[in-house]
Symmetry: C3
Subunit: 135 residues, 3 copies
Amino acid sequence: MSEADTVSLVLFSGTDDKLNAAAILAAGASAMGRRVNVLLQYWALDAFRADRILKDHGAAAEASAEGRAAMERQGGQHWSETFQQAKQIGEVSIHACSHSMEMLGLVMEDLDPLVDGQEGVASFFLDTSGSLTFI
Amino acid sequence: MSEADTVSLVLFSGTDDKLNAAAILAAGASAMGRRVNVLLQYWALDAFRADRILKDHGAAAEASAEGRAAMERQGGQHWSETFQQAKQIGEVSIHACSHSMEMLGLVMEDLDPLVDGQEGVASFFLDTSGSLTFI
Amino acid sequence: MSEADTVSLVLFSGTDDKLNAAAILAAGASAMGRRVNVLLQYWALDAFRADRILKDHGAAAEASAEGRAAMERQGGQHWSETFQQAKQIGEVSIHACSHSMEMLGLVMEDLDPLVDGQEGVASFFLDTSGSLTFI
């Protein structure tokens, strides 16, 4: 597997619809044998706090009442479970962005165990020779 | 043309400003000889419903009144026409994400003919060896 | 350095949180020796107007009151300074998208000197053989 096969995801948004979309992409890439590097920034990092990861994080501002109802009707597994599965399937790492950790006043103990560690953006780019996706 | 020349776009947002930006990127990539794979999720998929594609889908929450007025003043062609042109120029495929189809309770007949079919995320990654862009 | 090392960022959003995230990614990529091409569209282009670049551009709609307070508390340097540093560190170009310039009724003199020029999307793709990131 070449470095170009790596899928690098920068998660910025912390709403359940985007995090679900992100988790599905991570699981799909992992299932196809791609290495996945995730960096959590801003509101996505906030959503990975251990004490809040399962709470309702809402949907993007554009979601209609009908759309939100469809999300609730479907239910299905939580995005954190999908990330968990993606990790079980393949090589998926999830890191908190140091800059956002500092901004939100967080330490590693505040985060869900899904998060493997924290790193700066320059360090993240060491592993990012393929595609870079911002969600 | 190598696989790395493929531009893979995951469309999540369904507002007219983002769909217009996406259509312009697809047409630009297509004009430069790049193959373009589009996957429609969530609110972007909803915007491709045959009975709504031409209706007003609003703008991102951050758009100011001044910005929205500029969008209306410019007018110009609809993003669905730009996607149509992108398909005429080059190799552009548009697929609905199976997961979102199920969530929104849609079948292929509900979608605009611009949509070539539906597929799962793992299948989408079979064709995604180059860049992956989330819009 | 191969063309695949280029990081192409299409900036669409004009809120301070996303522009800050974008500036940090540009600086990180630049610090790691990657070439960075930035294309400004829609509300991100509006945020680079010379007479507004330093004003408050708000945060994404999803930001909580707590999150906005954390942004203000941290303070730190403005994203325009981070882009300036990214340019000093390495090879970073910033162009305005011609389509958005026309829509917003702008000419180059309206923009901050950080912006190197304007170009169409097709021209942008001439330099975009690696990853394409939409923010």
